[in-house]
Assembly symmetry: C2
Homo-oligomer: 657 residues x 2
């Protein structure tokens, strides 16, 4: 895109390309979009008031912050005595990033003070030459000697992202100075091929591109390019960990890879860096590779709830269509990575499918990852639960990443909670963009939007109870005299999406999956979009054997689930079928688990346990088992597991009668 | 049982109870039963000629044998340099056990020499006080200090089992002396509650009972009782490994446990020790606990192919009905453990369901675990394979337990191959038993059987091509003049099982699932049993969502699988359905992968890929996808993956039209 309306480099947001040639859409920052109310606005407030202090408490209690103090205190601990994991620096940085982004939403003196104190602590721990990694600095091995497993660059990447956020929201150079020194150390060691080596966990790639964007220093961009070029050639030693090259995305060069493979978070983080590099350099093969892998992931390796990564072993992508709901791993960080990747692809393509992907991830898996109290979290996100698992002990770190019956407060490997923190704090950035024609609305989240279009300044107010109902209302608060276009995403699941302007049906063009209303606007103009959120049955691709012949129920962007807590006596969710030809009843609640919600009632049949001695039976006998009619209650999947341990399922066998 | 016909303590077999009060059936030894021909006889020969030297080669190459030499050579290695795992002693012992059992089948000078040499090597490594564990002796930690993870008692247990086998087949005390010294060291340290502690991996329990049976030394039995009593009370430190108490069967006392939980091999090995203890002490709660857990496992946690242990994480049992074929772990050792457990329960109950369990395990998972060349092995056994995985590199150890496209020659953690070796070497012991009434036939494997019944000496010859066809023929070679009963197992899958004697229909009683023919026999009498091996469709329990609405095809005891290698062009096994109302065609081959086999042809439909962009679709659209008719070819599941990497499935969606 040439003729860019605004220089996005000043934007207060994640992903602010310096080179706008590749951009179809230009991002808006936290200064341009403010969440006003509703589910997401409330969550952003709770993220600030509950999740942030909760995270800081745990990072202190776990010794993750203390690790920085110990480096300079002269009392190094050996690795065994270290209370948090060897890459816990990254958790501190991600929390810092979250606090920093939130300063872009509103002033917060306590956050400012906390950031200043943490910045001082980190600065004190940094070596004179810029190197920083508390685990190595405490005497655990040599610098850069176990790159496949050490996460040294991964941690620096998160430091850089925190610093970029802090600089963008506050203008301060305090954290940025530390991050640049660390990045400069990396460039000195590895830049221009002086040394070959890759971090086992991608992250540094996108971080260095963002640092380049902020500073204009090309050596950062070049180092990302070097890392991306070197990857996929068996560069990473598989001796340091139990996994093979595919786990590290190091078996096939990214430009040649056909699908997402290996550790899911690593795979999508790498692709974020690939798109970032493409955005700055314009190399078509990079975008093609990222889109190809995104398509393969979305069409063959994504669960209906937005989870990716089937396999607990290696926290990894499985084979295509290997999507068993009872054994899905579905790490929260992986879906956050999908949001980050889809956002980057949305910016360069302008295609609604990427915003659809973000909507599914946000409204389902991300929402389900966090308790309604916003102080406990799933690392792994079940899509089916057969038994009442033990509740997570209150106030304890979960030792493992598999999901107990309720959400743990914190984890030994605690990448997910601070990742949620930074995502919610920066969520406003994902709502809207601008381009030459005007303004695009990607997510229907109550907000105010202030943007400079080529036609002039535009202010909009978005009000909606979506997805409680499908009525989305935009009011024009400020507009230039000349015409501009308002583009509204039509989700792929929405067959119809009528638009009215000031009560009258509006004529719309469709472009890239968006309904485009072009006109000369007046202050006070009201645009109404009506999305059909009536419940609908959904099936997975026929190759997904695990739910073959089964249906899920969705309502608007929300996936529904049956939770045992809501069922009548005598209903055993492990052996029900849904009567797909009978009506679904919607029941509205003002306050269901703290929010207005629609609960669904469906007709179903219960198959009582045949009580057989073996796990199998002849086909003829099984087909003749009796069924009895029951009513099944479905709640929004994101609200499950907030009332103690439960049995839960999203997909259920479909029955015609 | 009182009035025991033979003193089984002299029997050359695994599991030879000293106290016969609890026995419904008395085991026969390798001196009483000889495999003569067919699939199992051939395998036993190949086990001797191919698998045994293959295992010895790898144990030498891996340093597992050398570990014993190093202990006394003065050149200890630290743990990092150790080429095999810290519990590799057990692999050497299991191989020794396999060689020893095979000496019960026939003389073998090379085996005798190898055993003598290995015995000398092990003896030299043993400490003066009886302790032996090369990993600890090499300087890796203190004795008994990390029992949850060290496998010290586990290794000693396998030493004891090898010694028991060697003593029973040869009468030699050479290996037994070492094993007793090690066991006596254990008793000195832990006996009579002098010290509390449990090995994280059960095995010592059954081994000590067998040693008690052989020696009459009660302290061994008492120590087993102590270990079983102490387990299930959080005794094992969870600090040494990444797992919780349930993984170690240490969360609930075994007498209270309702189902099999945690690491699958550990769970079934523990239950073997529990039944062994019951057999000697007669404590009813022990048998009840073992039967209860076996029933829960068999009815809710066993795959059709005999696999147990759904989860790769922790190599563990999953929730009830959590049996996804595409992600099943299904460790070979776990199914071998099921065979060992079912055998013990068969001896004490006389019920055919336990012999059915052994048949399913032997003819399916165990057979599939090993290549037809008998020199490569699956550790984890897939029940579905969606993609062409890389072939295992020839001549290399597999670093991980997940299954590549073909069977690896050996593993870093190589528990399974020597377990297969010892199982096949001692297979004759599982064919037949005796009791007051006469002789029972549990497995229809061509063999000769010589047994002393209360009526007198009986010799039988069993000839059959089963399960190629259902005709099983027993000829009486020796018989006393007085009447005795021949009991023939009627598999649960066999609706009918007509018996003829000398060509005439015989009247049979049914007891415990066995058809009992009681008469006064004459030499030359011929008994013919006809089992209905026609192909049949089987479904899993309706709670097994992963294959809900899907069918498998079985023929006799054999589970069939579709392998891509055999399919017509245009058939994609990832999206076929089986037409369950159409006939199944049987095609007989004299030589299919080295053995006479029946291959099945079924009518099916192919659903071509709808090519959708998302992994999901609206229900109505999906239901209307076109299908085209195809022919599907199914082969015996145990023969899959012998022709290079392939796509494979056991269960497929059932279609009526």
């Amino acid at each position: 895109m040439t003729d860019t309306p605004t220089r996005p480099t000043g934007t207060i947001a994640p992903v602010v390309p310096l080179n706008t040639e590749q951009l179809a859409l230009v991002p808006l920052g936290l200064d341009a979009v403010h969440l006003t109310a509703g589910f997401w606005g409330e969550w952003q407030r709770a993220n600030r008031e509950i999740t942030a202090p909760h995270a800081l408490h745990w990072l202190e209690q776990d010794g993750a912050i203390d690790a920085f103090r110990r480096v300079r205190s002269g009392t190094p601990l050996d690795s065994k005595a270290r209370p948090s994991l060897w890459f816990s620096d990254s958790d501190v940085y991600k929390a810092l990033e979250g606090l920093s982004w939130d300063l872009g939403n509103q002033k917060h003196e306590a956050f400012t003070a906390t950031i200043a104190e943490l910045t001082k602590t980190i600065a004190d721990a940094q070596d004179a030459d810029g190197y920083i990694n508390t685990f190595v600095q405490e005497g655990n091995g040599e610098r850069w000697s176990r790159l496949g497993w050490s996460h040294e660059m991964y941690c620096i990447g998160h430091l850089v992202q925190a610093a970029v956020a802090h600089k963008r929201t506050t203008g301060s150079d305090e954290l940025l100075r530390i991050a640049r020194a660390a990045a400069d150390r990396l460039v000195s060691e590895f830049g221009q091929g002086r040394r070959h080596g890759l971090d086992g966990h991608p992250e540094i790639e996108m971080a260095l591109v963002e640092l380049y964007r902020l500073t204009g220093e090309r050596s950062y961009l070049e180092l990302t390019e070097q890392f991306i070029d070197e990857r996929g050639r068996g560069t990473i030693s598989t001796e340091d960990g139990p996994f093979d090259s595919e786990y590290y995305q190091d078996a096939t060069p990214v430009r040649d890879e056909q699908t997402t493979v290996g550790h899911a978070v690593r795979a999508v983080y790498l692709l974020c860096g690939v798109v970032d590099l493409y955005t700055e350099t314009g190399e078509p093969a990079l975008l093609e590779a990222a889109v190809r892998q995104w398509e393969a992931m979305t069409s063959t390796k994504t669960y209906l709830n937005g989870a990716v990564g089937s396999r607990i072993e290696g926290e990894a992508f499985g084979d295509p269509y290997e999507l068993p709901p009872d054994l899905v791993y579905g790490e929260t960080c992986a879906t956050i990575g999908v949001i980050m990747l889809s956002w980057r692809l949305l910016l360069v393509t302008g295609e609604s499918r990427f915003a659809d992907s973000i909507e599914r991830a946000l409204f389902n898996l991300l929402a389900a990852s966090t308790s309604i109290g916003r102080d406990s979290f799933f690392y792994s996100n079940p899509a089916q639960r057969r038994t009442l698992r033990r509740a997570a002990p209150a106030g304890e770190r979960a030792p493992r990443s598999d999901a107990p019956g309720t959400r743990p407060a914190w984890f030994v490997c605690t990448c997910c909670p601070p990742n949620i923190l930074r995502t919610i704090a920066s969520l406003s950035a994902y709502v809207s963009t601008t381009d030459r024609s005007g303004v695009q609305i990607h997510q229907y989240i109550p907000s105010t939007i202030d943007v400079f279009t080529p036609a002039g300044a535009v202010s909009l107010q978005l009000d909606t109870e979506y997805p409680l109902n499908g009525a989305i209302r935009l009011q024009v608060l400020t507009t230039p005299d000349s015409a501009w276009s308002l583009s509204l995403r039509q989700p792929a699941w929405a067959d119809t999406a009528p638009v009215r302007v000031n009560g009258e049906p509006a004529s719309t063009a469709t472009r890239n999956g968006y309904l485009v209303v072009s006109r000369t606007w007046a202050v006070g103009d009201a645009v109404e979009l009506d999305l059909p959120v009536a419940p609908r049955f959904t099936v997975m691709h026929p190759k997904v054997d695990a739910v073959h012949g089964q249906v899920a129920i969705e309502r608007g962007p929300i996936v529904y689930a049956f939770e045992s807590t809501d069922q009548d006596t005598g209903v055993d969710l492990n052996s029900v079928e849904v009567l797909v030809h009978e009506p679904v009843r919607e029941r509205y609640f003002d306050d269901f688990l703290g929010q207005p919600s629609v609960v669904l009632e469906l007709a179903g049949v219960q198959r009582d346990d045949p009580g057989q001695e073996l796990a199998w039976a002849p086909y003829e006998i099984e087909a003749a088992q009796p069924r009895r009619r029951v009513t099944l209650t479905a709640i929004p999947y994101p609200l499950w597991a907030n009332r103690g341990p439960s049995v839960m399922r999203i997909f259920s066998p479909a029955s015609s009668s």
